[in-house]
């Protein structure tokens, strides 16, 4: 099965050069059934990567370009009156898919973003008085552009909490950029082929259940989470004024799952502190609500997480 993962990575690298951290994060989301929020400036292959992933997995894929005039019914669907039969029928929206790419999610107002709350948590959609359970797997991969200030809406905290990880995509190295330039100019990016199907994906997810995590590491995860809520208890008094709200229990679950997935992707059948440390920023960064003073001082949630990891003793 691990061979499948390597094949999948190879296929993705046909369409995307570099960005290993983003690919790794997407695979963790896929293995854990967790939704992923990808943030980065335009042109960093965010959409391309998600597109390539759907092709390589042979999953049903739909993309929604979020715009300021989008309505919840444009995403989830609506009840439509049929004059011939004198009855209402359900017109399902693009949400009914396996991989949903919510492109530039912060361009739509909170009303529309909130339409995703039920489906992201319950994996079911309610249209009028009828609820539909979505087919497995169902993953939302949202992208957002951090540099725009006009015409964008910040994602509500409840919505952010439903994303398992928030990946920050940065620019490629000079060597990678050179390859991108050459391939882009000569249009020599190879087509992505399907290397997995739903069955093998479910099998990978089952294998993940077998990854062992020591009770001491479980406690370490809980301590990291608690440190975001009560920093003073961990001798992090300086962070007390910087954090307005710590992370939710969803964060503990997601960090636990992500650490196991990371260990699996690294070829281990047990979790080490390094696996937790490697995913902790991605899992917690969008969940910590910083105080106004901290934001005014230019403090980022990543800096807060770094201080916590530096302070909380590893087992």
């Amino acid at each position: 099965m691990k061979k499948k993962i390597t094949q999948l990575k190879n296929e993705l690298q046909k369409a995307v050069i570099g960005q290993e951290a983003m690919i790794e994060g997407l695979l963790i989301g896929l293995l854990c059934n967790g939704h992923i929020l990808i943030e980065g400036v335009p042109g960093l292959a965010k959409t391309t990567t998600v597109n390539a992933l759907s092709k390589a997995l042979g999953l049903d894929f739909k993309r929604i370009q979020f715009t300021p005039d989008l309505l919840p019914s444009d995403i989830i669907g609506a009840q439509i009156y049929d004059p011939q039969t004198h009855s209402f029928s359900i017109k399902k929206g693009p949400l009914f898919t396996n991989l949903l790419l919510a492109d530039e999610i912060n361009r739509a107002p909170s009303k529309v973003q909130s339409a995703l709350l039920e489906v992201m948590q319950e994996r079911q959609v309610t249209i009028a008085d009828e609820s539909f359970v979505l087919e497995r797997p169902f993953l939302v991969m949202a992208t957002q552009n951090p540099i725009e200030q006009e015409g964008v809406y910040a994602l509500p905290e409840a919505q952010l909490d439903r994303f398992m990880m928030k990946l920050i995509v940065t620019h490629n190295s000079e060597e990678e950029e050179l390859q991108i330039m050459r391939k882009g100019a000569t249009k020599s990016f190879a087509d992505v082929m399907q290397v997995m199907d739903k069955k093998s994906l479910f099998a990978l997810q089952e294998e993940l259940e077998a990854i062992h995590i020591d009770p001491e590491l479980e406690r370490y995860i809980i301590q990291l989470i608690s440190a975001t809520r009560e920093p003073a208890r961990f001798k992090l008094e300086t962070l007390q004024a910087d954090i307005m709200y710590g992370v939710s229990p969803r964060a503990s679950i997601d960090l636990y799952k992500a650490a196991r997935a990371k260990a699996y992707l690294r070829g281990n059948d047990f979790v080490t502190p390094a696996d937790i440390g490697m995913v902790v920023h991605d899992v917690l960064r969008h969940r910590i609500v910083l105080s106004y003073e901290a934001r005014a001082k230019g403090i980022k949630s990543d800096e807060v997480i770094t201080k916590i990891v530096e302070t909380v003793q590893i087992p």
């Binding site: 502190p273 390094a274 530096e310 590893i314």
Partner: protein, 380 residues
């Protein structure tokens, strides 16, 4: 002057008589002085007479503008008959440069008929009906003038007189004294830039000259007043004003002069000029301004010093190397080093982390120093 103009009118010379056959009208032009001096007034008579009574004829005539001359239409007569149009224009032209110059004409012949005229008249204010005409531009030969140059140093052309009025010859210091110079006469109305030289031994206030002029067959009659005021704190003498003029009718150069005038200035006590009623002298010296200046200075210096101190303090507080490098050096054991490296984002330290993992949780062994060194290398 009058005799001169009368004789000039009698001396009208028919320069050109142009009968434009086949163009339904005759064009006649006459000029009174074919060889004028520069800036001498020349009268130009224009007559346009319709010869074809079958059509309704209208004329659009004028002189073309040029830098060689200036002109003004001073008389115009047009007949009311639509089939027998007669137009008479009188122009006053002033050539501006010596030598042969061409006076160019612009003539548009506009042909229409009675129906079109009647139609145009049937309109009213709210329903304007245009007159439909068939227009054609007629090319007319230019009128050639041989312009004679003026004697050297001439600044005024015509028959002028110069008068002046000095308000008083005795004044107190700094009192403005009105001084008006009036140039009056017939001829080219030149505006002189300045009557006095640039440097004068008194303060000179000037205004824009007041110009009044009227044009007629006898030329341009103008009155130009130069209002000025003179002021000084000591006695002074005005500079003489000399204008070199030339009368082309009499072919005589003459000089117009304003003689120098001496003004006696009585000294005045400057303190007497101070308004002691509305602005009484202060009872004591006010040093408040000094306090304000020192206050501002103190605020500036303290602000500057604070900024400098903060910058210096921040720089002094910073460790010499990279902050993470210091932390790596301070790591007590391998677990502490692993914890420190895990807290950093990105895959920068992945190799060292893996080695630390294998050492702490596996069987491989590395020295803390070598791991620290490798981590510091990754930092660079």
């Amino acid at each position: 002057m009058k005799n001169s103009l009368g004789s000039t009118l009698a001396y009208i010379i028919m320069l050109t008589l142009s009968l434009l056959h086949g163009e339904d009208f005759t064009f006649l032009r006459q000029v009174d002085t074919p060889d004028p001096y520069v800036k001498e007034g020349v009268l130009l008579f224009i007559d346009l007479n319709q010869t074809n009574p079958d059509i309704v004829l209208l004329f659009d005539f004028d002189l073309k503008a040029s830098s060689d001359y200036v002109f003004r239409r001073i008389d115009s007569k047009e007949s009311d008959s639509y089939h027998n149009a007669k137009v008479h224009y009188l122009y006053l032209i002033y050539p501006l440069k010596a030598g042969d110059i061409d006076i160019d004409f612009r003539l548009t012949k506009r042909v229409t008929n009675d129906e079109s005229v009647a139609y145009s008249f049937s309109g009213d204010r709210d329903n304007v009906k245009g007159l439909v005409t068939k227009d054609s531009n007629i090319t007319l030969p230019p009128l050639k003038l041989h312009v004679k140059p003026l004697p050297k140093g001439t600044t005024l052309v015509g028959d002028f007189t110069l008068t002046y009025a000095l308000q008083k010859k005795e004044a107190v210091a700094y009192e403005p004294i009105s001084f008006r110079v009036t140039l009056k006469g017939r001829g080219y109305p030149s505006l002189l830039a300045s009557l006095f030289p640039k440097k004068v031994p008194f303060t000179l206030f000037t205004e824009k000259p007041i110009v009044q002029k009227s044009h007629s067959k006898r030329g341009t009659f103008s009155t130009i007043v130069y209002p000025m005021a003179l002021s000084s704190d000591r006695n002074f003498t005005t500079l003489p004003i000399t204008i070199h003029a030339f009368d082309p009718k009499k072919e005589r150069a003459y000089t117009l002069k304003v003689p120098p005038e001496t003004i006696h200035i009585k000294p005045i006590d400057v303190n007497a000029l101070v308004d002691k009623v509305d602005t009484p002298p202060p009872l004591h010296t006010n040093w408040q301004w000094l306090g304000s200046v020192l206050g501002y200075l103190l605020a500036f210096v303290s602000g500057f010093a604070t900024a400098w101190f903060l910058k210096w303090h921040k720089r002094a507080a910073l460790p010499s190397g990279h902050p993470l490098e210091v932390k790596i050096d301070n790591a007590q054991d391998k677990k502490a080093l692993l914890q420190l490296l895990l807290a950093q984002q990105g895959p920068r330290f992945s190799t060292v982390i893996e080695k630390l993992e294998r050492d702490l949780y596996g069987k491989e062994r590395y020295t803390l120093t070598s791991l620290k060194k490798e981590a510091k290398e990754q930092l660079q």
